[in-house]
Subunit: 164 residues, 2 copies
Amino acid sequence: MTTTTNHTDEATIEADETLPIIRTTRDFAATPAQLLRAHTDPDLFARWVGPNGMETRIVEWDARDGGSWRFTSGRDGDEYAFRGCFHRVGDDVIVQTFTYEGEPDGVALETLRFEDLGDGRTRLHAQSLVDSFEGRDAWLRSGMEVGVNEGYAKLDAMLASGDV
Amino acid sequence: MTTTTNHTDEATIEADETLPIIRTTRDFAATPAQLLRAHTDPDLFARWVGPNGMETRIVEWDARDGGSWRFTSGRDGDEYAFRGCFHRVGDDVIVQTFTYEGEPDGVALETLRFEDLGDGRTRLHAQSLVDSFEGRDAWLRSGMEVGVNEGYAKLDAMLASGDV
């Protein structure tokens, strides 16, 4: 495992050694039900996902088994679009596909699990599976950790202010 | 690559050496448009998919980007159910998730590509990606090639009789 960050408030982002998977782990002062809501309510999700300064617009959102989703993220006239389908939405798990429309042939299968740590804390285990190590490593080199960490910091603030 | 079959009329089913992927290749006397129809029209799909003697019942079917699907397959009172979502449905490609409901935590990301060989022939390239080598190898040991080959033989017959 290659640990790129392990600061307390930052996500741990790891590349699996034998599988084309990125694993991200992050603790939150939240219950599993709150984390599920933050990932499935489109208005809440749009407020925290992605790096600071990007505005997220939900285009399509049907967070149930077999539903689909699409959102755009923009800043200064640049706009990026992402889409996929929800394979499974359970109390403590979400399985979904993920494509950045700028690279339509790239598809990740993402699994999010919410592990109840007790005392109002929950550990998010996110796994992103793709079909090549080259694609996985390019994604790791893209600076993705900035958006991940800035997004989760926004979610922390929403949880602290009782908005979730 | 481990080639389990390479008889002319049988599919080539290969385990990738470095990725948790099964790759299946099979030629058909069909155009890409016919193969797309055979995989996206629910009435046609139900007639050929799976091993001989199993009756397929389509429960849910929405073959478009972000749609979902579910079918059951039964014989002698035993019934198996499968479900997933269509991530992408294009002229020569289908990307979808796949779960056997008896093992709900197992999710495969499947990609089907239809390569036009000319002269009314098309090569199907199917890729099934999962998140562990153990899961992939268990699937290979399950006898899956029987259902794959019997299903494609039924599709051959439907193509020959002009039903697709």
